[in-house]
Symmetry: C2
Subunit: 308 residues, 2 copies
Amino acid sequence: MKLGIGDDCALLKIDPTEEIAITSDMLVSGRHLFPDASPEWLGWKALAVNLSDLAAMGAKPLGFTLALALPEPNPSWLEAFSSGLFVIANEYNCPLVGGDTTAGPLNICITAFGSIPRDKAIRRSGALEGDDIWISGTVGDARLTLATLRHEIELSKDDLALIEARMHQPTPRVNLGLALKEVANSALDISDGLLGDLKHILRLSNKDAEIFLERIPKSATLRKQTPEIQNQYSANGGDDYELCFTAPSDKRDVITKISADLNLLLTQIGNIKSMQHSAPEILIVGRDGKALNAQEANLLLKSFDHFA
Amino acid sequence: MKLGIGDDCALLKIDPTEEIAITSDMLVSGRHLFPDASPEWLGWKALAVNLSDLAAMGAKPLGFTLALALPEPNPSWLEAFSSGLFVIANEYNCPLVGGDTTAGPLNICITAFGSIPRDKAIRRSGALEGDDIWISGTVGDARLTLATLRHEIELSKDDLALIEARMHQPTPRVNLGLALKEVANSALDISDGLLGDLKHILRLSNKDAEIFLERIPKSATLRKQTPEIQNQYSANGGDDYELCFTAPSDKRDVITKISADLNLLLTQIGNIKSMQHSAPEILIVGRDGKALNAQEANLLLKSFDHFA
């Protein structure tokens, strides 16, 4: 990175063998952010969700811009926000290269840039029939935390302490994305819920999927909940920022090695199938090996609505 | 541009002889935007102010991301907003490559990318002693429009019609920036007021400036106002999105030719001087050839405060 903040633009020099991945996310108070969320968490999460998008394509972080609207100048808020932001920026070698600040209702807009060898980006459109479907880490804890904060579910203080970072301080799977560049046929990050997001891969790849409900990885805390809550939150919870990817079955050994190297759980939860009808479908297989009926499946497939 | 909206990131391929310029601006309702401003104007202006930053460094637009918070889904608003946005995107060959939408108080965040031959960007830090100081177009009409909308000044409907586009639909000086790459030693775009913005060049170049007040170019409409208003609005008005640049005096013929080629007024308004004290200063010379006293100059030098 050549020139940082202080001119009309930042300047980036790129290796000629690489191309640039760009992603932009906007976080708004009351919608993505609990109004009383700690500013450290906001800074952390705002950058982490963008790095998660870079990770999903196998890109290496290069830098980011930050545009910030704040109701009033607030040095202590800014200091706390920055401390969370720069934990992630430093961890993933992703410097702040420019930005904008203004007065207004709290709004955090980050645009992040990554580099990727030419034609090596992992696309959503690359899933092939017979691919295994994989997911990193566990899913559903962010949704369980939200339910607790909303008093929809009672969770002990200790249980909440074990999982709340999954909502407030997600870990972008940058190193996993880099490791998957030569392995995965398709990938995306789970921000709106596993099944809803998987549909994006299926739509762009013109494929169906079969998912084994019991294999979806859940934390010990989530496994204490009812089976309905477990299924709903893990299959459709949102805000998990794990990677869902597909890879040929002959890559299982490589993926197992990546899992060990990164000390990160990777679970094969299903398979890519040829598309049977005019639109992609997900066949959800229950514990008994039977597919869920349409009503049960529909409940699980409800996806996050940005204007709900 | 390789891959547009629809994956986790957009992908950009860059010519190896070039580097990338990046800029990000956030527009907020009530601050940058009149609440009843037409959505066409908002779309136009949101992209234009970013292209103005690219222009100030001599960069050629490559593409942009749009993150948008809207209070509610509003197809007719979006259609009008898009129509204004894409007038500018099409005019300057700058495609939308990705983005984000969310529910929230109206907020428009655009990050724009441009390409520039390596080491050819026009920096704010490059002004040299003896450089002429130039400005494109006229300045002060955006401020005069604002004053009229705020009922601080009475303007006839016809007069307002002549100038209001300067506030709502600014013209990014992209082609001027490209033409200045081999000509200007320093440049920036005037968003917060001519004298306040010029100070950024002086600070980064460690120079003083001498500005001839009467030479600052003003529209016929602004010239109908009192001398005080003329001076204040043209020297310090903000929101003009003209380019201010410095160039050696032996480039005057080249600059005159650029002015004719682009059919764009370019006016030499002063000179770069060596720095006399510990901080850069602007000496303002009045009609009588005498420098303004400290109090008069101070009034003109007040700059836009983002939290005022």
